[in-house]
Structure formats: C-alpha cells, structure tokens
Symmetry: C2
Subunit: 253 residues, 2 copies
DNA sequence: AGAATAGTGTCTGTCAGACATTATTAA
DNA sequence: TTAATAATGTCTGACAGACACTATTCT
C-alpha cells in the first residue's frame, strides 16, 4: 500500500471526550451532560466536542473543559494556579461507535478539586456530577430501568471506566491526588481523596507517616484548620515532587 | 456550540504509527522505514498508514504490523502464539505535524522478540532495525549530518521517545518483558532484556531470586540450554501472571 | 465527659541491595 | 586450568502494616 496519498484517505470526524473526575462528599464523581438530540437523546454522556481545524488535541480538550466547567487546565509544570490536571487518556475509534458516521474520539482525563456547581456549555440544567460507582454499575446492568438509570451514551461507559482506572493507578506512584484538593489542604483531606478514589479505608497514622515522610510531596502552608472537627490540622500545599518513590500502596491486592 | 453536527465537522486523516521495539545484541532497537516520497523523502520514519473505513484502530495497527514484519499481534489474554504484544500508545494531532494536511496519528506500541530480518511492506530494502539510543540521540542533535544521521521524519522522534518510556516503565510492574523473549527462555536472557531496555546492569543473583520467587511469573519448561556458554540454564515459559507485585525495581532512581 | 480528629512512636515481617559460595559447561 | 554463566544462600537496612498512646478541638 502506498503510504500517505493525500487524495485517497477516508475522512474521519475527530472529537475530544472528557472524563472529568472530582471527589464530592467522600465519593468519586464524574461530570456528565444530558444529550439534547439523537442519537441517545436524553441519555447522559461525557462532555466533549469536535476538534477545530487549527487547534491541537490538548487545546481542544482544554477549551471544552473551560466551556463546561470554567476550569482552566494548567500546565503540569506550574506549581498550582486554580487549574485542574489534564492529560490524554486514550483514543476510541470503533467504526460503529457512532451510528451516524465515522468518529474517532481522543479521550482526556481531568482531575479537578470539588467545584460548587457544574455549569453547562449551552443549556444550563444539562450537566451534573454523578457518582462513578453508580455510572459504572448501570453499565453492566444492561438497558434502561427508570429515568436516569440508563447507561451512558455511545461507548462512554468504557471510556469512563478506563479513565477511573487510570486515576486509581496513577495516584499510587505520583502526587496527582493533590489535583483533587484545594490549594491548601490537610493530611486528612488528602487521605479521604485516596479513600474515595480507591474505595478503601486507609490507616490514618500510616498514611500520615508516608505522605509527610516523602521529601517534596507536601510543604507546610503555615496555618491550621478545623474544617473536619477535632484537633486542628496543619495545612499543606502540594510540593514540587511529582513522582512518589516508593509508591503509595493500595490495600487488598 | 452545538455538539455533533454531522455536516459541520472538519475532515481529518487518521493514521496509525507503530513503535515496534525488540532487543538485538543487547540493545533496544526500533523498526524504522525509509520514506520514498516527500515530505521527508529519504528520511527514516516509523512504519504506519491510514486507518481504513471499516477497521478499528487496533485492527489497523495489527494489519500494518503484519505488512511490515509478518508478525501477528496476539491477544494479551492468550498464553503465547508467536505473536507480539500490541497496545495503544498515544495520539498525536498537532495541526502542523504533517505539512500537507491535518493528520491525526494514533500511535501503537509493539514489543516483539528478536526477528531475523525486517521485511518491508512494498519495497524490500527500506526497513531496518535501528538502535533506539542512536535514534533518540540524533533527535536533539538537530539537523542532518551525513547520510543516515538525520532525525526521524515528522514528530516520530517524540512518538518513539514516548513508546520507549512506556516500555521502560511497564516492564517494572508487569510481565511484559517476556514479550521480548522467544517462547522458551532462560532467566539470564530475561535479565539481559531488562538490562537492554533500561540501559543498566542488574545483579544476576537478586534478579534470579526476584523472578523465580514471584508466583505465576515464570513456569519451568523442562529443558536446559547452554546458548550463552557456561553452566546450563533452566528454560522457562511466561506464566499466567500479568502484574508484578511488588514490582521489579529500576536502579538509580 | 465523650466523641472525633490530628499527630508521634513502637514492633514486626517482607523484601531489595550487597556479596559469598558452589555447580556446570566450553575453550 | 581458566573463564563464563547458573543457581542458592546470608546479612542488613528500608519500609509497610498493625496498633498503643497523647494532643486538641467541639458538643
């Protein structure tokens, strides 16, 4: 086959889909939007849209993220800014994943701190945070039951599952869990992030020893807080270290 | 923005590019093909080609792999077959990565045992195994020097670097290094794979203890061999375990 | 007082790094 | 014999899991 004959390539539509994860009320949640048109009209789906002619993939993902949430994705090099972590997840291109035409979707993963309320791109009430556990449970349960119990549109349940798995494994060996936290946070809040993402309970004392003993992971921010009740806890900021070595161990493997 | 308006999407070309890695003579090598036409005519590039209208991304990657090497990508679930490991790597979509048109490339990573000789798809002499170290060294060295010292075409040096980094990190916590070995291999041969991929020397005794002590990683194949000279070594096959826990540790981190 | 959370310390088993020693072949 | 590789064993330090104990707040 002659490679790269510009006149003989099948045209594809290329989209970005976003797996936006956050931790709300001790549960891992994902941002979903309600579809206003067929196919899958009325069903929940991951936010996303077409890649424009002049933007790259990360740019398109960042633009969609800003349109849906008002968040700005920040460069992983920068210390903080009120941005979320954004990275490419995987690409989905089954010929029949969209019944209308050939669509290749480059999924991206976003880890965001808890946000007040989702803000829809065009129509206001069509976006919400949904528990990942519920979204993935209805995936295997097959068809729709009543109202909001239908699985996600297209192959979005698969994409969501891949994104959740990426997040679960990546907080083991990186400092990415801090992307779920506000700029200043306590060790207990960080631990509850791990517990929500992994769905397990961690020993508070061993966790404290681990995260405070890893150089560059946390830097003291100076103050204390009693957000959770009990003895006041020190506030920390995310340190410069991005890799955790040795990693945080996930129980029950 | 109205999502999914089928009549108003910019058309993209979608290709798959392959990072095919193997270990030859104690060095990590990648398969490269010489470009026969502009742009980058005469330069080396990663093998790849257009995704066809009716195939999915992994299917396109597997087809290109077979065309270039005769290898068949095997399902990771199956024990062996003479196939190579294939997985999606990442997607590259900068608007200017191909000077002629908008091309989004879904790169795939292939780990293959040492193969006798590369077999080109169309023209015979245009494919070869090149040392990864040399390919990546000339990336930063800038422009072409003499003859074969030019960097890879397009953004393929970046893609190659990402693929190598994926392979280097993945053999830490998975049994994927066995994909570089023939169906039956010795502990020493497996150790030399790790040494070539990581570019370090490992203690043979600690390595032996680690791999033979991890349940399900290696299963004895029965025979012995003296391929390397010295005392005959036991032959092993890859076991069913796909995850290494605890992982193999990479020195000097 | 009692409950809740934060923070420090101790003990123990696992395991990686360093290195000694023996076994078995080829040249 | 010498060199090369394979295989097993020992010692030690780092660290995770389990858990006792103290500190500081709110109700």
């Amino acid at each position: 086959m002659s490679p790269y004959d510009p006149s003989a390539f099948p045209p594809f539509a290329v989209t970005v889909d976003l797996v936006v994860l956050t931790v709300r009320r001790h549960a891992l949640c994902a941002l979903v939007v309600r579809r206003g048109e067929p196919p899958f009209q009325g069903r929940w789906a991951l936010p996303g849209g077409f890649v424009r002619d002049d933007e790259d993939l990360a740019g398109a993902a960042g633009r969609e993220l800003a349109e849906e949430t008002g968040l700005s994705a920040h460069d992983p090099a920068l210390p903080t800014g009120n941005g979320a972590h954004l990275e490419q997840l995987a690409t989905y291109g089954d010929p029949r994943r969209d019944p209308r035409m050939r669509v290749v979707s480059v999924a991206h993963l976003v880890l965001a701190p808890d946000l007040p309320a989702p803000r829809a791109g065009g129509d206001a009430n069509s976006a919400r945070w949904a528990s990942v556990e519920e979204l993935l449970a209805m995936r295997d349960a097959g068809g729709a039951e009543e109202g909001e119990q239908a699985p996600l549109a297209f192959d979005h349940a698969t994409i969501l599952a891949d994104g959740v798995e990426r997040a679960r494994s990546k907080i083991e060996y990186s400092s990415l869990a801090t992307a779920f936290c506000p700029p200043e946070f306590t060790v207990g809040e960080l631990r509850r992030v791990y517990e929500a993402v992994w769905g397990v309970a961690l020993d508070p004392r061993n966790f404290h020893r681990k995260v405070t003993g890893t150089p560059g992971f946390l830097v003291p921010a100076g103050g204390t807080t009693t957000r959770q009740g009990g003895r006041p806890a020190q506030l920390f900021r995310a340190g410069g270290a991005t890799l955790l070595n040795p990693p945080m161990l996930r129980p029950e493997v």
